[in-house]
Structure formats: structure tokens, C-alpha cells
């Protein structure tokens, strides 16, 4: 069993859990994920690791309450235990010295990208971070991003506060300044729609754009094939080949988006998600 040692509410319906799991903490790297099961009747659900402490043997992840399992998780308190907590799964995010890296984050990605940004900084990169949130109330996790990033741009859904209205406008401004103010790489952990749009925006400029994809998973160790997607014309499995992929090579966006709708009513993946046929465009 895996005890919860800390539970923090970061914003309405946004939670951070800290779990005692020394074996996972020991090998965790930026961009990897865990699969947990709450209890005997629970489902296997993936969450991207947002932090870890090897000495204390703890692993953190941030989630948003959207379905049955995440609501159940939100009710857990220190002292409660998880039945299963497997990880670190997937390949770590690629990190090297690139120059100027733009990261685009929303949802749990706001927290889960922090280890990647930290590693990018350790490699001497300049990092510009764009954070998208519906409004100021639902913004969280600003502080570590401010500390780590050379520039932090908040893209909130509401006007005012001198903030950008949408992420794509913020990204467009940065891209317009390229290559004068050169961008060497984009790393995105945000909504699927936004990652797709970003990949299309950077494609003509040839700026490598890494996207973090979390298709539906069941076992998470390369056995079930639920998380398959088409990348560069071949089938890849997000749990063992990803979850980070080159956004310009992903050629199954419609199917990926549609797949998330398969369990839209039951799954943890949708944040107030309503299928508006967006997968059709």
C-alpha cells in the first residue's frame, strides 16, 4: 500500500497529492508518469509526476477533479492509502542545451512541466513559459514557474490585468519575433487541441515542438495497446515510446482527440469536457 503523506488544494478542484513511494521516487525523471489504483475496485489511471524527493521517498502529482476516480482521490487525506502506485513510466522528456525554449502549459501540465523546466535551466537554456488558465481564480502553481523561467506569460481567459487573452496570441507574438528573438524549441503540456494548434503554428517555421500526449491507458507498461497513436506513419505506444512526441510527426490528431471522447462520460480525462465535434476539424 502507498500512503498519502500530503494533500494540498491548489485552486478550486485542483489538488496536489504527495505519496510515499520510495521505489518510484528513486528513479523518477522529468516528464514521466505513474499509474495508480485507489482501491480493489478502482481503475488504473495515469498521472504525470510533478515532483519527487528521493531522500524522503515521496512522489507528487497534480490532478483536476473531473470524474469518479479524481473525485475519489480529492477526498483522500494524509494517512489514507492507495492500493497501487506504479512508476516512473514512459520515457523522460528530452532535455539538452537548445538555447531558447518556450514552454506552453495548462491544467495539470502547469505543475507537471516544472521538473522539465528545471532540467532545461540546468542545461543552460533560456526559458519562456506561457501558462493558460480559465481565470485568475483557477490559476495555480505560478511561483515555481516565476522562479525558474526567464519570462512568464499568463494567458487567462479574461481580459484585463494586462494579461494576454489567449495562449495562441501570446505564442503568435513570440513566433513573429522569431528568428530575431530566436526560438529553438517548444515544449507543450496542455490541452490536446492547443498542442495540435501549436504544432501547426510552429511547423512552417521549423521549430521543433514536443508535445506530451496522454491517451487512454490501461496497463501503462506496453502490454494493452490502448494508448497507441500514429506518429510518422507508424503506430507508437504513448506508455513506452512517449508520452513526449514530436508534434510535427503526430499524424493521428483527429483520432487521438476522438479517442478521448470514447470515455468522456466515464473517464478522468475530461475537464468539464463536452464533445462539440471538435475532432472533426
Amino acid at each position: 500500500m502507498y500512503p498519502i503523506v500530503d494533500h494540498e488544494v491548489l485552486a478550486p478542484r485542483v489538488h496536489r497529492l504527495r505519496v510515499q513511494a520510495p521505489v518510484v521516487a528513486e528513479k523518477a525523471k522529468p516528464g514521466q508518469f505513474v499509474i495508480l489504483i485507489i482501491d480493489e475496485k478502482g481503475e488504473r489511471v495515469p498521472f504525470t509526476i510533478s515532483d519527487w524527493d528521493r531522500d524522503a521517498g515521496t512522489v507528487d502529482f497534480v490532478f483536476i477533479e473531473v470524474g469518479k476516480t479524481t473525485r475519489q482521490l480529492a477526498a483522500l487525506q494524509p494517512g489514507d492509502e492507495l492500493l497501487s502506485f506504479i512508476g516512473p513510466l514512459g520515457r523522460p522528456a528530452e532535455v539538452d542545451h537548445y538555447g531558447h525554449v518556450v514552454t506552453v502549459l495548462s491544467g495539470y501540465g502547469i505543475a507537471a512541466t516544472v521538473p522539465i523546466i528545471r532540467a532545461l535551466k540546468e542545461q543552460g537554456n533560456t526559458v519562456t513559459t506561457i501558462v493558460q488558465a480559465p481565470d485568475r481564480e483557477r490559476l495555480f502553481g505560478q511561483k515555481p514557474l516565476e522562479e525558474l523561467s526567464d519570462q512568464l506569460i499568463l494567458a487567462l481567459g479574461t481580459r484585463g490585468d494586462g494579461m494576454m487573452e489567449s495562449t495562441t496570441v501570446a505564442v503568435r507574438k513570440l513566433l513573429d519575433a522569431h528568428p530575431r528573438k530566436r526560438i529553438d524549441r517548444v515544449v507543450a503540456m496542455c490541452s490536446l487541441c492547443l498542442m495540435r494548434v501549436l504544432s501547426e503554428m510552429t511547423r512552417p517555421l521549423g521549430i521543433k515542438t514536443m508535445v506530451h500526449l496522454t491517451p487512454v491507458m490501461v496497463d501503462g507498461t506496453g502490454m494493452c495497446g490502448a494508448c497507441r497513436l500514429s506518429v510518422g506513419g507508424t503506430n507508437r505506444f504513448a506508455c513506452v515510446h512517449g508520452p513526449e512526441f514530436d508534434g510535427h510527426e503526430v499524424d493521428g490528431w483527429e483520432v487521438l482527440m476522438a479517442r478521448r471522447c470514447t470515455y468522456a462520460d466515464e473517464s478522468i480525462l475530461q475537464q468539464g469536457f463536452q464533445c462539440r465535434g471538435c475532432s472533426q476539424w
Binding site: 521505489v23 518510484v24 528513486e26 528513479k27 489504483i37 475496485k41 478502482g42 481503475e43 488504473r44 469518479k68 476516480t69 492500493l83 497501487s84 502506485f85 506504479i86 512508476g87 516512473p88 513510466l89 490501461v218 496497463d219 507498461t221 506496453g222 502490454m223 494493452c224 495497446g225 490502448a226 497507441r228 497513436l229 500514429s230 503506430n235 505506444f237 513506452v240 493521428g252 483527429e254 483520432v255 482527440m257 476522438a258 479517442r259 471522447c261 470514447t262 470515455y263 466515464e266 473517464s267 465535434g277 475532432s279 472533426q280
Partner: protein
């Protein structure tokens, strides 16, 4: 040639050959279409006695040679004939720790029962059903028969994967006095016995009971631990373990690489069965894992896994279930018994056709599939008849759920993190005839070696590898062995 006559002479009480194989009661097809309870109900003691009495105890013991784990079949049947079920259980347990599993899922018709002398008359002794009877009887007795345990050798072995192969190695080596740690990536032990084979063919309580039996031999089971991630193979070997057995099982499912294969409601058999069996989607919403099912299901493939997926579909409420296979019934790799069960449950078989693509309903859900008719070529040099498409014979079939059951390729997690472990060009781990890999102190077996085979062959590989590992552990590094038989107090 004349064995059938020979034994008649010696045991004089044996009457003449009884060729009436005792049938095993089953749930009616009508009833079982609507539940996940076990289909085959097992022999009663009366039926088991009757069937056991048919064994002529021939001297050659061909059945035992036909068994991949070399169970002393004539001896356990003789014990049944003497009405000593406990002794029968003891005989069984000498060679298998998983009798409840083997009695249910082994293809006996190709192994022990195929070799049975009475098979020459077309009525082999129902060895599998008797094995199952003994295992089930033991389960109702509460306490399991324990084997004689060797004193501790002081050697420590890691077994990677708790499926049939890993469980066999773990119990064999534990009985021989080695300390065994059994690593499992999932949250329960049993591997394919838990996630793959459905409840109605192999109840999960039976698997878990046999896992607990292996634990009672002193095997230390560590769930939720992925070798290749949490510990590399080298970390195991450089750490506390003298030897390692690799049996991580099946890996990534194979697909056909035809258009539309990633549409919604196109599943791999592994996903479909994992949701259904391991995660108990058939009990949703009591269990949290859902499984979206349509009304017209096509299962692609002709193996046992395809039969399992098709039969699960029926029970999950599909109205029509089709099995699509590109050769004919005669070439189907599935067990005849499973094909017959599937047919009784109303599953329709479509032979000599192959999907060429899947069509969307406009919202990326599968709505139909395109197939092409196939024909078999004349036998080639190897005697094999290949299926080839008949040009211009394409047609469309309406389906709303597809399960692709074409096998798996080996899981890359361990080979990719172990550069000096030799793998074939298909990604399977290369071993010698006793399971030894190219890497010192490492043996392997099961699907990671075969690429995908039966439960019993994985157990057989485990049995052979365990013997080789025991030799290695006993001969090498004698100096480390402490002379005192200090441990093994548990039961």
C-alpha cells in the same frame, strides 16, 4: 502397437477397455451467454471415479511423456482408482504448483491425452478433467498439500513476471531451498492467467489460490514493480541476486497496419481482455473500469485469445459476434473445445477473409470494415498453404466494435535496458534449450522467448530453466552456501 493388450495380462481385475469417456457437465449455452461464471462445471466424485477407472495403467506411460511438465499422470490416476484423492493431489503437486490452472487451460488433446494409449481407440482418458477435479477437491479441503522442502541453500533468485512461467520457476526453486523474490509489474500476480484468460474459463479465485500456494512455499511476491524501470537487470545481478529468471510475458499488441485501425472502438485483444478480466469491466460500475461495447462485434484472428474475446463480447451484451479468420477452420490455432464453445454461444465464424480497412461513422468511431476474400494456395515446399487475397472480391461488413487478436510482439522494456542480452530480430530473448540467455546468470522463458504460446509450454520452459538454474546455483560458488538449514519454517 500392442500396448493395449499387454496390460490386460498383468492386472487381472481390469475389465476390457471402456471407451465411454465421461462428459463433464457444462452450463447450458443459453444460460452462460449472460454470465461470466465458469462454463465447465467439473466432475463430481462419482464421475471422476468412473473416468479414472478407464485408465488401464499401461507400462509405457506415454501420457507422462506428453506432458510438458512431466506430471506422473498414471500415478495420480492410480491414486484416484484407490479412492485416495489426497495422495493424488500429492502426486500432482510434485510436478505442478498450478493444477487448478492446468486442468482447465492446457490443450490436453495435443499433449497427455493425445499420447494416451486409449486415444488409439479415439477415447483417451480425460486427464485434464481429472487433474481439475483433484485441484478443486483440494481447494474445498482448506489446507493445501505441502511438498517436502529442501533446506535453505542461501542462494537468492529474482523471478521477473508472475505468470505461469514465473510461478513455476519460483515454486520449483523455492522447493529446492533457494530464496525467491517474484517481481510483478501489475497490481496482482498471475500475468495472463489474470488479465487474459476470462473468468468463465479460469476463475480468478483459483489463480489467486495457486499464487498464495506459491507464496506459502516462501516466495516473496513484490507487486507493482517493473523490472527494466524500477530495477535494471544489472541492478538485480549486481545486488542481492545470484541468478535471474525473465518471464515478463507478452508485449505490444500487433495490428494489421490497415487504414482506420486506430478508430474508436477498435481494440487490441489485450486491452479488451485486460479491461474485462483484470479490471472486471463486466461488473462496471461497481468496478470503476468501463468497457465501451457495441452491438456488432468483429474479432480478428483465429487463436484462443480471439475465442476468449468473442465469448466475452457475447457476455458483455453484443447482439452479433463474428470471428474473422483468413484461413479455414482446419488451420485455426484455437483449441477445438473453445471453438465449439464459441459456436454454441452463437458466435459466427467467417473464414477465408481478411480486413483491408476500417470505415468511420464520420466521428472517428468504427462503423464498418472492408474485407477481401482469401483463398489458400497449393501446399508449398514446407507443405503449408498460404492465404492469398482474391482480387476484386472486396466487400463491406457493418460492425461497431472490433477486437484485433493477432498476437503480440515482445515487451521491449528489459531488452532495451539490457544491451548485452541477445534478442532475435523479432525482439524475443534468445535462449538455449534449457532457457539460458546470452547474459551470465540470466535465464528466460514464456512469451518473451516464444513470442506467444500456451500456458503449459511457458510452464514447461520454466521447469527446464529452474532445473538448469538449480544446477548452476548448486555447483557454482559453493563457498557461499551456509551449511546450516536455518530457514523455511513457514507453511
Amino acid at each position: 502397437m500392442t500396448e493395449a493388450k499387454q496390460p490386460k495380462a498383468s492386472p487381472k481385475k481390469k475389465p476390457k477397455l471402456n471407451l465411454n469417456r465421461v462428459e463433464m457437465p457444462k452450463q447450458s449455452e443459453h444460460e452462460r451467454r449472460h454470465n461470466f461464471d465458469e462454463v465447465a462445471l467439473g466432475y463430481s466424485w462419482e464421475l471422476a471415479k468412473e473416468e479414472a477407472s478407464r485408465c488401464i495403467q499401461c507400462k509405457k506411460r506415454p501420457c507422462q511423456q506428453g506432458c510438458p511438465v512431466n506430471i506422473d499422470i498414471p500415478d495420480f490416476i492410480a491414486a484416484l482408482q484407490r479412492e485416495d484423492i489426497e495422495e493424488a493431489a500429492k502426486v500432482l503437486k510434485k510436478k505442478t504448483s498450478l493444477p487448478g490452472v492446468c486442468g482447465r487451460v492446457c490443450p490436453q488433446e495435443l499433449q497427455c491425452e493425445n499420447a494416451c494409449t486409449l486415444n488409439k481407440k479415439g477415447a483417451p482418458v480425460a486427464i485434464g478433467r481429472l487433474e481439475r477435479f483433484i485441484a478443486d477437491w483440494e481447494r474445498t479441503q482448506g489446507s493445501a498439500t505441502m511438498p517436502d522442502m529442501a533446506p535453505s541453500t542461501g542462494k537468492k533468485v529474482a523471478v521477473v513476471g508472475s505468470g505461469p512461467s514465473g510461478l513455476t520457476v519460483a515454486s520449483d526453486l523455492a522447493i529446492l531451498g533457494h530464496q525467491v523474490v517474484l517481481f510483478e509489474a501489475l497490481h496482482v500476480a498471475g500475468g495472463v492467467l489474470m488479465y487474459g484468460i476470462p473468468q468463465f474459463r479460469l476463475p480468478k479465485e483459483i489463480v489467486q489460490r495457486e499464487v498464495r500456494y506459491v507464496q506459502s512455499l516462501g516466495v516473496d511476491l513484490r507487486l507493482n514493480t517493473v523490472i527494466g524501470i524500477n530495477y535494471s537487470l544489472d541492478e538485480l545481478l549486481n545486488g542481492e541476486f545470484h541468478a535471474v529468471y525473465l518471464a515478463p510475458g507478452a508485449g505490444l499488441p500487433k495490428f494489421m497496419r490497415v487504414p482506420g485501425e486506430n478508430l474508436n472502438m477498435v481494440y487490441s485483444a489485450n486491452e479488451f481482455l485486460t479491461r474485462t478480466n483484470l479490471m472486471k469491466a463486466y461488473l462496471y460500475p461497481e468496478y470503476a473500469t468501463p468497457l465501451k461495447m457495441g452491438k456488432r462485434v468483429a474479432v480478428i484472428g483465429g487463436g484462443n485469445v480471439a475465442m476468449d474475446a468473442a465469448r466475452c463480447s457475447v457476455r458483455l451484451g453484443a447482439q452479433e459476434v463474428y470471428v474473422i479468420y483468413r484461413r479455414t477452420r482446419a488451420e485455426m490455432p484455437a483449441r477445438l473445445e473453445e471453438v465449439e464453445n464459441a459456436e454454441e454461444e452463437g458466435i459466427q465464424f467467417h473464414f477465408l477473409c481478411n480486413p483491408t480497412g476500417f470505415l468511420s461513422d464520420g466521428r472517428n468511431n468504427v462503423a464498418a470494415m472492408e474485407l477481401i476474400r482469401m483463398r489458400l494456395t497449393e501446399p508449398d515446399e514446407s507443405g503449408r498453404r498460404r492465404p492469398v487475397p482474391i482480387p476484386g472480391s472486396e466487400y463491406i461488413m457493418d460492425v461497431d466494435t472490433v477486437v484485433v487478436s493477432l498476437g503480440t510482439s515482445p515487451n521491449p522494456l528489459i531488452p532495451s535496458t539490457t544491451p548485452d542480452l541477445e534478442v532475435s530480430r523479432w525482439g524475443t530473448v534468445v535462449v538455449d534449450e534449457r532457457g539460458r540467455t546470452s547474459k551470465a546468470r540470466v535465464w528466460a522463458g514464456g512469451d518473451i522467448v516464444s513470442g506467444g504460446a500456451t500456458v503449459i509450454s511457458a510452464m514447461g520452459e520454466g521447469r527446464r530453466a529452474a532445473a538448469a538454474m538449480h544446477e548452476f546455483l548448486s555447483n557454482g560458488q559453493k563457498k557461499i552456501i551456509p551449511p546450516s538449514p536455518s530457514k523455511d519454517g513457514e507453511s
